[in-house]
Amino acid sequence: MTATPQRHRRGAFLLLTMAVLAIAAPAVVLAQSGDDKAEPPSYSKNGADTCFKCHDDQKVLAVFRTKHAVPTDENSPFGHGQLQCEACHGPGGDHAGRVRRGQERPPMVRFGSDSGTPVAEQNAYCMNCHLTNVGFAWHGSEHDNNTVACADCHDSHVERDPVLSTATQAEVCFDCHQQQRTQSMKPYAHPVRHGKMDCSSCHNTHGNTTDRLLARATTNDTCYDCHAENRGPYLWEHAPVAEDCGNCHDPHGSNYPGMLSMRAPTLCQSCHSQSGHPSLPQDERGLPSGTPSQFLLGQACLNCHDQVHGSNHPSGSKLMR
């Protein structure tokens, strides 16, 4: 039987197909074997314009009211040549592509501890851009060690991120730091619960080489930002004051005036035991119903020893001048 024209064309197509396979397949294999990894997903066809076909609600579009969507900043996700939505949410080619019936649409990177995307992966996307100003300090910090996601505190899809505003920052921190929230409700505390002072006034929350993520080198240096009148150096210093304000104060809140960790005289008597009035028990005998005692009532020890943070008076060695 001789070959008909149709048979010739069919054969040519088969030959062509085999030729294409012979040429292309090695390229695929080489590309795969170069990394020994699964094929990485692809990016979308048109970037954000692709995403908007499905995602155009107000929450999504709010990103355009933030610093993440500034086209004139070449480093912004929406800067010239950048990856737009996929800069943060990862390649979206598979997610935006055709999905077979019964198959689940491949997910994108989502943010937050309950998003399903591992925290390390989420944070890695943030660090792509924020490594220099945040990432180096974050690495190995307390928050990083406790797998806190950047998105646990930050919201990139609102015009004004609550954690960046003094009035609302503490509420974000208190989601996890519940014990500090309780302390901030004590009768004597910094004005955090009023929204007039924020946690980052004292703490560098992204990480630091300091103790407890303090904003300055030491506890005292941090306190002196606002309370420099206690810095001295004084002629007559009070040793525990010069070393650590936390020896006597509880900065998150206290039941006692001045945010003291205990009130005078017992606070003072945990260190002072000189003969005479410093070592006398100031019990109910000193109440107004007994013999009203200047060592118990009023400001107790501070009725006379008011210069408790130190004195610069030549006669001030007893912190009374």
């Binding site: 197909t17 695929v28 048109n46 954000a48 314009d49 908007f52 355009f64 009211r65 969507a69 500034v70 004139t72 900043d73 950048q82 990856l83 737009q84 996929e86 390649p91 309950d114 399903g116 490594l131 220099t132 100003n133 180096f136 690495h139 190995g140 014990q179 309780t182 409700m185 009768p187 007039k196 002072m197 080489t209 002196y224 930002d225 606002c226 009148e229 810095r231 150096p233 004084y234 002629l235 040793a239 010069a242 070393e243 039941n255 260190c271 002072h272 000189q274 070592s279 028990p281 019990d283 200047q294 009023g298 009725n303 006379c304 008011d306 004195s311 610069n312 006669s315 001030g316 060695s317």
Partner: protein
Amino acid sequence: MFKHKTRISRTLVAPLILLAPAIGFAQADTSDWACESCPFDKGYRAEVNAGATYVGEDGAIRFGNATGYDEKGGYANVDGQGRYVSDGYRLDWMIEDLGLSSRVFEMDGGRQGTFGFHVGYRELPYRRFDTTRTVFNPSTSDTITLPGSWVPAGITSDMSQLSSSLRPQTIESDRQVIDAGADWKPAKAFRLYADFRRQNRDGIDITGGSSYTQSSLLPRWFDYQTDLIDAGIQYGTDRASLTLAYYGSYFTNQNASLTWDTPFTSGPGAGQYRMAMAPDNDFQQVSLSGAYRWTQWDTVAAFTLASGSGEQNEALLPYTINPGAGAGPLPRSSLDGAVDTANYALTVTSRPLPKGRIKFAYRFDERDNKTLQSDWNRVVTDFFVSGDIEQNVPYSFERSTISLSGELVVWKDIRISAGGERKEVKRDFQEVAEQTIDSGWGQARWRPLAWLDLRVKGGATERDINRYDESVAVSLGQNPLMRKYNLAYRYRSYGEFIASITPVESPVSFSTTVLFADDRYNKSLLGMTDSEELRATADFSWAVSENSSVYLMVGYENIDALQLGSEQFDVWDWSAKHDDTFSHIGAGFNWHQAEGKYNIRFDYNRSDGETTVDYLSVSGGPSRLPDLTSTMDSARVEVAYRWSDRIDATLDLRYESFEVEDYALVSPSTIPAVLTLGAQPYDYKVWALGLGFRYSFGGGDITLAD
């Protein structure tokens, strides 16, 4: 014919599908990503909230603490925020509580990626007492005087002019903060920044002005100013960052001293006393910090080197204001005080295993007080020369800390971490010259389900000392058996449990924390001997529907402490047991009408604090001081009504009650040897009603660009 085409199509498509991955491997080509639909920000929009609030009760100055609502009456108020964006330039502004003494103004702007600036102004009122009264004349200077009719007496109950001379004196102050700053990126990897902040704080505070055996609580006027400067140069790439920074803090006090008339009878020439106020001082620091990242094991090393210097050279007052006290000349006219600081830190974190990470940290902090020592011939409370020559003590210390910690994911959802730390502290002139604090801790974290997170942590710390130098204690007149609370040997153990339940598809979430800590000062015969601490919290939230949610939060804290003392200057003969408790409960809901106009929010908070102190002494037997208690209830309802797309009306109703019982607050004549200000414990109930209108300029829903 159709069938043929189908078969041919399949024949062609198959290899193309196989080829597809090869094409997908290429870098994303974003040149065609025109972002045609992107609704980039431009133009101007703002919203302004103007209204008035009426505070319905008087005598609640503490309600104004930090809020500005410190008196009964009406307050006008304005809040707002706005933004202008054009061609990459942006200007943001915000005002808050403009009509109140807690007002805030902030403005920032610039061209993102090139430069930025910010300016701000903030006020913070501190309202302490409005029940206080004083016999002293009003004063906003460094001198406090008595009325001309005053008759001194030996004790307060004998002060014949006391009742007639008392006048109200509020104890309050205000803080104003001005700040301005800018940053500039001259090149991709560089950033320059500078920030300046000036804080002014002035008002009336309470100061104890003492004589040898008596004291007056004085309504002292103060006026402080602190200037802060932060400036630096940053260099940063994907691999490394480096920052050279300067920090300067400059404090000035308008009043170098406080002089006051004594209301008590006194010796010749001693009708006035004087004390030194906080001296002007400054502190400057230069720091170099940076980090480097290696890809090997994802290792990052970060360091900080900081060197600082603080000075204080205020002219010294004479030994006494009393010319008859017989004081001699001062050894020098000013302190010439100087403190050098050094802060060094190095941290290295690395991931040698895919599921394991380690961290090494070293830290050194030093305060080197270089102030010269001199001999001082103290005059006792402006009365007489003590006769003892005393030397000023320039306290210095060094703290070095080294720590190592590691973390390992031992199974899919279980993460184990542990660490140890040694801190060494060296001090001058104190009872403990060397102190070593060794800590160890371990934590297990388990996430068996995506919505369940459990954490258990425990550890112990031993603070040991080389020697408690009793000779130093004795030289200071201390009982040699006393062990100061911050210097004594201490063993601390603690445990913590944290649980979080946040089902993804569920509207309910719950979390709780519990911390227990136990401190033992095993080697202290006097002073603090032990302490226990318990903290517990719980949070619950429920998104009832798409339009409403409720929350409940509870917190509890209890601290017990025992200290021993000796009135016989021997072994312990009295004890004081402290029991501090605090609890807080907060609840609320939020509801907004679906597709509607109303939004309602309600918040309620209640907190209770209580402190009891039980004494047991040889001389007095068992006794208990009256409880120190505080109770606060606060509630707030906010209703917003959307009048139109641009206008909202708001109604804000607040209630707060605060009651304190404090045995220490007594009338001016209660204590024979102390003339107090008669502050009364807080006890108020306040309501405040606010009405406002919010108008929006520009803005509106964001729509895709055509």
